[in-house]
Amino acid sequence: MILAYLLRRVAYGFATVLGVLLFLFVLFFLVTEPQDIARKALGEKAPPEAIAQWLANHGYDRPRFWNPDDPADSMLVDHYRRMLTFDFGRSDADDVPIARRLREGVGPSLALTVPLFLIEVPLAVGLALVVAFLRETYVDRLGVVLCVLAMSVSLLLYIIGGQYVLGKLLRWFPISGFDPRPAVIARFLALPLAVGLLAGLGESIRYYRTLFVEETGRDHVRTARAKGASEGRVMVRHVLRNALIPILTQVVLMIPFLFTGSLLLESFFGIPGLGSMTVEAIHGNDFATLRTMVYIGALAFVAGQVLTDVSYVLVDPRVRLE
């Protein structure tokens, strides 16, 4: 039963990915001509001969959708063939193999996303427990207001504000940059982590707090209190444990995206991960890299959905997938 359900889920996911690839192809070439890509790659002074040669070398001189002479030889067919066989090819910007770029970029991305994930989830759960514990005091009300405020501010503002205040004025951390050497890597990660935490905590705390408050009103919690369990024990044993199910499923959904990195944090802090690679591909008209990143993002999304379903079944015996 569950296997059939999962297969169906994966099939839907596959159709979604195919659609995303088509959408990307059409949108990209609606606004960009292959000549734009060539000129970005070769520079403004490149003579027309060099542009034509580049287009031929990179397969952009073929018909876009349909080649009447050879239906298997069009840009769109090649696009699907490459993505579905995971043959990502070379970057349009600098001819570096994209598979290698991915290998090089995943480390820096994870160096930021994994600590962020590992710190943010327990911290948000902990703070939400405190706020829920102090419910109906001024801390709870103020906490909710602060959370909503924090959620409403754009990540960009956190980044620029963080760089200005913590980097420039207080001089606690380098303003931006990255160096993977052990002696200095932490200095570069500290500020993006702090900013990522500040920006993400508001939403998480508010969500978890709702779960906890909902749980504290349940009968079994009241029973536990009636039996004389201490307030701490009630919060941890009875509230936290039961609220873990929705938390877990939400957290599982995030895991595949750890690999794709953070677009804004990486770009603004100069971390050479997969997120900033995507942004560079957009700026640089690098279609080959951009489609790879979009493809991987779509796959991560589908994987997250399937994993969430599975984790539901695993943690909550009441849930059945059919």
Partner: protein, 674 residues
């Protein structure tokens, strides 16, 4: 991947704790503090390090340092002077009976490539190899190779047999896929090489051109013609986990590439095989600090006795860091973590007062280096257009002259360039032979009254088109759709409106603009040109009819005047001297009268340097001067320390306030639950 990932994640977590303990904004390891390292930022990663292809400033930042060229520019002297690099002397052209021209090149003795794994392919294998004349021939063949796709290949078609070689090679590859997979040197050999390039011996090479082209010498001062080892191209092929050659240069220059994480940092270190380091006793030009320069150089400190005659390079490492955004990069410069920087617009007024360093910055012991760049920005008319172009005859000429008189380029540079630029009177910028500081183009001195009179003569009195009775309508075709771009162009449109002309901005994307250019459907445009080499030919060819845009060349004005063409060809093939100067004067007078361009300005680069940086005279040409540069690490370390003490009290205040705010609620909650 997983090992690397785990390593990275674990390391990051551990290091994070350490970082919080040792709060610092220093982006560099403590161990580097006392070293002669030059730090600077780059805004965009290099695209390629292949010397046959690299053409942008950021590419040259690396390729210029890891390759030495056959010729080079004198570091201090202006106007620019070529001196030998890898060659023993600057070659002179020898005319041949059939109109061809021959250059003989002789490499210096004892030149080596930087040590590299690729030389395991050599016969016999070794850690490095001597540089041979055949390596220059090999690079010339690469320029011709269609698969390399060098952007400068069209320049080299003057070499006898250049095109023939490219066609044979391409044909053989297309006919036989196995041939295309053969080792690159074998492919070139099988295609028979370039007929006009003769390797005469280990150090001697002859290049035969089908027509005179004195500018060839300047191309010998660029990385396009630097010797390249076939082993490097064959070995670094991007296969089996090896880098591609575009990321792994094997050069002959003063530095070599040590780290190439181009998305975060690039590191250069001295090349132990460079002839200046191997053979300091030879004191070859360009391997010791020069003893002579321009008149002002001694006063500017470029001829300090501590440097003159000393062997190069002075730096023990060069660290480039990627900083895509200007403002953080500039902030790091102010913290002392970068040694030089451009000036961001937002901070311009704080840094520069009336063209000089502001007192605030001067107090920090900074220096401002200004240099007019060998480039020109201009408004152009499409000379194939019926209204503004040559077909409009005298009438159109008067119109062009009137429009030129309405434009005040000083105002433009003041508003949009922070005053960084000098007004252009002709296509030639300062520092280029033929530039005359005393020359004033009579149509480039803003004068609305004279402009109105010229319009009357042209039959457009008050800017009115007699055919319609309404203001003459023209389009200004631009390739910048941004708000800022529009603002810039609006300045010109407003100026022309004062004459009564109705000029409409037609802002399109670059591609649409190119399409308009192909169809000839444009009237007025704005363009710029940055010189490849310091010869007047590299500017004046922009108006040569053979370079017309309609034929795919850079003459976007489509200016075609047989008188100009004849003068240009004579000037092009002539050595600098009074005769050439006279020809340039004639060409200038012709352009002044015909007015295909409204010359705007020659941009001026402003660079800020810290007091600990020495010998950073700007060159302007694409030629790396890193080997001359020096820093004083002691002074730098002291200043960095003084400028970057962390301010910690806000952390304690915040933590205290948080606790204070929380405590009553906790007490209250516990009381209630009890």
């Amino acid at each position: 991947m997983t090992a690397a990932v785990k390593g990275c994640g674990g390391r990051a977590a551990l290091a994070l704790l350490l970082a919080i303990a040792a709060c610092t904004n220093d982006p560099y390891p403590q161990a580097d503090a006392g070293k002669k390292i030059f730090y600077t930022a780059y805004g965009e990663a290099p695209k390629t390090l292949d010397p046959a292809v690299a053409y942008s400033t950021v590419d040259h930042m690396v390729t210029g340092a890891v390759h030495e060229n056959l010729l080079q520019y004198h570091f201090l002297e202006r106007p620019y002077r070529l001196i030998p690099g890898l060659l023993e002397s600057v070659p002179e052209p020898e005319p041949l009976p059939d109109g061809h021209v021959r250059y003989r090149l002789r490499l210096r003795d004892g030149l080596r490539f930087a040590p590299d794994d690729c030389f395991r392919l050599s016969e016999p294998p070794g850690p490095w190899r001597e540089v041979r004349a055949a390596d220059v021939a090999f690079q010339l063949m690469r320029l011709a190779d269609p698969a390399v796709n060098s952007p400068v290949a069209p320049t080299f078609v003057r070499i006898v047999g250049f095109v023939g070689f490219a066609e044979r090679l391409d044909g053989m590859r297309k006919a036989d896929a196995d041939f295309a997979a053969e080792r690159i040197d074998r492919q070139y050999a099988a295609a028979g090489g370039i007929a006009g390039v003769h390797v005469l011996g280990p150090r001697d090479l002859e290049i035969e051109l089908s027509e005179p082209y004195p500018q060839l010498r300047y191309w010998l001062a660029m990385e396009f013609t630097t010797p390249v080892a076939w082993e490097a191209v064959a070995w670094w092929d991007g296969q089996e986990g090896r880098d591609g050659y575009a990321e792994h240069p094997v050069g002959t220059g003063p530095f070599r590439l040590a780290v190439y994480d181009k998305r975060s940092r690039i590191v250069l270190e001295p090349n132990p095989s460079w002839h200046g380091i191997l053979h300091p006793e030879q004191r070859a030009p360009g391997t010791v600090y020069p003893a002579e320069g321009e008149p002002g150089d001694r006063k500017a400190g470029y001829l300090a006795p501590a440097y003159v005659g000393r062997p190069l390079p002075f730096l023990e490492r060069v660290e480039y860091r990627l900083d895509k955004e200007d403002i953080p990069a500039f902030a790091k410069f102010l913290q002392g973590y970068y040694d030089v920087t451009g000036i961001v617009e937002e901070s311009f007024d704080r840094m520069v007062k009336e063209g000089a360093l502001s007192p605030e910055m001067a107090a920090l012991d900074m220096a401002l280096e200004k240099a007019v760049q060998p480039s020109v920005y201009y408004l152009g008319f499409n000379m194939e257009d019926a209204v503004v172009g040559a077909r409009g005859g005298e009438r159109a000429k008067r119109l062009r002259q009137a429009m030129s008189l309405a434009i005040d380029s000083r105002e433009f540079t003041r508003i949009f360039q922070n005053g960084r630029g000098i007004p252009a009177e002709s296509p030639l910028p300062p520092g280029i032979f033929g530039y005359d500081a005393g020359y004033l183009n009579p149509y480039r001195q803003p004068d609305l009254e004279r402009a109105a009179a010229l319009l009357r003569e042209a039959g457009y009195a008050g800017g009115l088109d007699p055919a319609s009775g309404r203001p003459l309508h023209l389009t200004f075709d631009t390739q910048d759709t941004s708000a800022r771009g529009r603002l810039r162009y609006q300045l010109f449109v407003d100026a022309w409106r004062r004459l009564g002309l109705d000029v409409e901005i037609a802002a399109t994307t670059y591609n649409q603009f190119q399409d308009k250019v192909r169809r000839g459907a444009y009237q007025v445009f704005m363009w710029g040109w940055v010189a490849d080499y310091p010869d007047p030919e590299n500017f004046l060819f922009l108006l040569w009819s053979r370079m017309a845009r309609s034929e795919g060349g850079p003459n976007t004005a489509n200016f075609a005047d047989p008188r100009y063409d004849a003068l240009f060809l004579r000037m092009r093939d002539m050595p600098d001297g009074p005769a050439r100067l006279a020809l340039i004067g004639e060409m200038r007078a012709l352009l002044e009268d015909e007015c295909p361009w409204i010359e705007l300005f020659h941009p001026e680069s402003f660079a800020l340097l810290h007091g600990w940086v020495h010998n950073a005279k700007p060159l302007g040409m694409s030629f790396s001067t890193l080997k001359y540069r020096d820093v004083d690490p002691g002074e730098r370390a002291a200043k960095r320390q003084a400028w970057n003490r962390p301010v910690l009290w806000p952390a304690w205040v915040l933590a205290g306030l948080g606790l204070l705010a929380l405590a009553p609620a906790v007490v209250e909650r516990l009381r209630r639950s009890r």
